[in-house]
Symmetry: C2
Subunit: 560 residues, 2 copies
């Protein structure tokens, strides 16, 4: 069975040239590009462009809140035919079972899911995560051809000081000829040399062209990241020009479902770059052959003989208008809709393990009471809207009461939810903005414990219990009643709903926050997701208590 | 132990930029490039350039007539620190023992020898080679980290028709994620698509820019070849410009010892390109990071953190004046001389097998007598000076006599020398130019049987026996006496002498040919080396007799 794509303009990713050529496909493989004139089936591409399918070089699927099957349905219409994913979040929740859950749940889909094994689970010793992944835990995964290496080595200090377990993980990947992803924001000069020399060969955290150029000169590939949370495209536009463009890839890192549906995926990054005057073909080359060759993917990422027929048809190049998507020669999406396909079967024990991730007893209002009473000088986490960074503020707070709504000082709790330890870290937050009620979420990087912020102990308990009851997710409570909820029963991170439903649920939940006194559009759940991550400065809260991130030390709530 | 290279101009192969920077080395690895100012040892590079060591992307070491040890000594001073070699010739002579002989003989040298397993041994069914290499024979070699894939798949017709054993070899390499070298001169359009789609990812046989551009557009890497026999640089100079240069590598393919010593190696190709106005940095990028990344060599081919300290110091970039060469951080050559290093030990059985490759009984003048007598209309091989191609001529020849010196019609014989079969193919050659005596050589692509050309049966026998007696090599005989000789006891292909001695011996041998009536500089041994290769048109001679290459058929000497 042969298929002939005729009369299209083929994007040649090897040279950047465009050629009028016919393309012949047989059994999912491109067998010729040229003057072919016969096929069992013929598809006319007059006036259209044919390019290779797009590849996201670094994404956490969990950030989309979708299972791989639904993720594929959402991104195929945008021209994505492969992703390199770091299952970092589910690894923190469910360890190797979580990783296997993702691998099994992505097999046989018309989108290639390649995986990078997360090296920093947990991220620090302060994290009470659901699992600890050792070098020995990761090694067996490298036998899987869909596993391409070690995920982002976030603990750059650990690398620079040559921490033995981390170096063992890097060596384990290197010994198998695998790739090692980087994450070392703002590192430069000698520190960066030391990080790179350990064997880390890319970075997706560059926020300036200078930062990116230094990395390229030092041999790394730079992933130009434009996701929902972090957006670096504008700053990195100069990377679309020679001599840097040949060493860049495109990535989304974290991407929310509504943003995927309305904005797009990798197509969106190229569209934005083109709107800023950059050549869309440069972006296509980054997201196809350059990514494939970097990761050692054979026969992937080009319209050329011997390559897999992962193809996208574009009606407009600058606008990256994707008309149709072919995966291994078969139609996978058309006019914005994925062609129906089978949902992979995940073995029951893995599924059960991932679905039973809310391992904590119900909490009550007493759990949120500070041990100390009376007015004390306290360390308060100051939220900075739109940022993941927080500051430390010293404020006098009446701990018997614990809330000061007028001064926007609320309670925050991080409840251990993996091992029934009953550990609860309690703290104070300034700037969360709630005027009533409480919110809770099981999405709390990286350990994904249950993060709760509220205006009363009762409502905090209600919000936490609501999340527990739906097997993980997010909830908003007012006057003791659940007014918004999004169930994320898979690891407390993912839903089994479609992207459309997930986006709708998420929008409704966020809308409910206005009833708690927040302005419309306020992304409080983005805040809760990062308040317990003790690798982002300056003051964070874990199940063990407050962490001074800069000193990497637990600190007391009170300073008097 | 750290070494600091200070005050040099570093060639950045990732960007093509040049940067004033200091480079710090520790334990053979580059640990930093920048403002480093301290090292246990300091080397001043003021006014000089620092570049990565050069890599030959495709060479047959046997063509240099040198063993790997002596080859390394010869090319290190030219800045070569790695080669990707196809041990095709020794494979034809001694099979897997020959391959292992090369692998063992190249271990631990200050030059990395990577190997490609020869897929076409023998080249055709007409060849009586010393060994037949099956897919099963090659497979175990892929466990060796120095083996990077399958060598040049010369039998392009076999690929285009999907010959099962050949496809098994390609599949065997692909299954291990290895590279497959190509050789498909002048193939174009659909035939080329079919060849490439089989999984062949490079070619070194391009003789025009159009041919090279087509291959690059179709995904292949193009090796710009400039060796002793085949010279394609001039025709391929346009490939030094974008968008093609990023997909090109440099190669010598076949290189004679004198040419290595006086002309150079990969440095010579870059020097010539620069003399034609091309950017030498483009050539350096081709021969370093581009070759390393194509073959999947990690930490090789750049001056950057984490890379192996394979470095060359250049006093003049355009002239590619190599002053010093460092391999894994240690001085390996300086001012044209290699630093002394240890000769690898090769296990005795392998060495013995390779050294006892002349397995034939002594021949006598009777062996060169045609069975038919009297005048017949005969197929005569017409030599075309300076070419590997031959023509077929029909001439009336008195076979009882067999020679017609006035018309420059001589006898040629190809004597089986691997299995004591006594097979001798006899034929006639026009244009060899000998006025007296005879020559013989055990270098006869690809089966490397003993090729003899002469003006009398007695002298042909004497020349053949002289080569047998020195265990393989080349000889010239006049008046029954050996007047020139070069012993190549290793497989009948390689000497254990140094490049200097080999070049001297070879020059003396070639000079002796003037006594046989040849003009000075005539490369008759180049002719003998290709007269028995039945894949180069049009009429060739094997141990089984004359081969019509175009029809791939044995043909009779006489046509009447």
């Amino acid at each position: 069975m042969t298929t002939l794509f005729r009369n299209g303009t083929v994007i040649n990713v090897f040279t950047g040239e465009m050629e009028k050529a016919n393309v012949l496909i047989e059994n999912g493989t491109i067998i010729g590009v040229g003057d072919y004139d016969e096929g069992d089936e013929t598809i006319d591409l007059t006036g259209k462009f044919l390019a290779p399918g797009l590849i996201d070089s670094h994404i956490h699927i969990e950030s989309t809140m979708l299972l791989p099957y639904e993720f594929a349905r959402a991104v195929l219409p945008h021209g994505t035919t492969a992703v390199i994913a770091d299952p970092h979040e589910i690894g923190n929740v469910a360890g190797t079972a979580g990783l296997r859950f993702m691998l099994e749940g992505s097999r046989g889909l018309p989108l290639d899911f390649y995986w990078m094994m997360p090296p920093c689970v947990p991220s620090t010793r302060f994290d009470e995560s659901g699992a600890v992944l050792s070098a020995g835990d990761l090694a067996p995964f490298y036998d899987d051809p869909m596993v391409l290496g070690l995920g982002e080595v976030m603990d750059y200090t650990g690398v620079e000081t040559r921490g033995p377990e981390l170096m063992k993980k890097i060596a384990g990947a290197a010994a198998r000829g695998k790739t090692v992803n980087g994450h070392a924001p703002l590192q430069t000069g000698r520190a960066l040399d030391r990080y790179i020399a350990a064997g880390v060969t890319d970075d997706h955290e560059c926020s300036s062209a200078e930062e990116a150029a230094e990395r390229i000169r030092k041999g790394q590939r730079v992933m130009i990241r434009e996701g929902t949370a972090a957006k670096n495209l504008e700053a990195l536009l100069p990377m679309f020009d020679p001599p840097y463009c040949a060493r860049c890839l495109l990535a989304t890192d974290d991407k929310h479902p509504a943003d995927l549906l309305t904005g797009g995926h990798i197509d969106m990054i190229i569209r934005k770059a083109a709107a800023s005057g950059k050549n869309p073909v440069t972006g296509i080359r980054m997201a196809t052959i350059q990514t494939a060759e970097y990761y050692g993917l054979k026969r992937t990422g080009a319209v050329a003989p011997g390559y897999r027929a992962d193809l996208i048809v574009l009606s407009d190049l600058k606008k990256m208008q994707v008309e149709a998507v072919y995966k291994d020669g078969r139609l996978a999406a058309e006019k914005g809709k994925a062609v129906p396909f089978k949902r992979p079967k995940v073995s029951a024990p893995l599924s059960e393990r991932v679905k039973n991730s809310m391992r904590l007893n119900p909490v009550s209002s007493e759990d949120f009471a500070f041990q100390q009473k009376g007015v004390h000088r306290c360390r308060v986490i100051r939220r900075i809207p739109g940022q993941l960074l927080t500051d430390e503020e010293l404020r006098n707070v009446d701990l018997g009461k614990g809330f000061d709504l007028e001064k926007d000082i609320l309670k925050i709790a991080v409840i251990e939810r993996h091992h029934m330890t009953g550990h609860i870290g309690l703290g104070l937050i300034h700037g969360a903005g709630l005027k009533a009620g409480a919110v809770a979420s099981s999405v709390g990087h990286d350990a994904h414990n249950l993060v709760v912020i509220g205006t009363s102990d009762q409502e905090m308990a209600a919000a936490a219990n609501a999340v527990k009851e739906c097997g993980g997710g997010m909830a908003a409570v007012k006057d003791g009643k659940v007014i918004g909820k999004m169930a994320l029963p898979y690891g407390g991170l993912m839903t089994d709903r479609s992207a459309e439903e997930a986006a709708k649920e998420n929008a409704a939940l966020r809308a409910s926050l206005t009833q708690l006194g927040l302005p419309e559009g306020e992304e409080l759940f983005m805040t809760t997701a990062f308040l317990s991550l003790p690798v982002i400065p300056h003051l964070k809260l874990t199940t063990k208590g407050l962490v001074d991130v800069d000193r990497q030390e637990l600190v007391e709530l009170t300073v008097d």
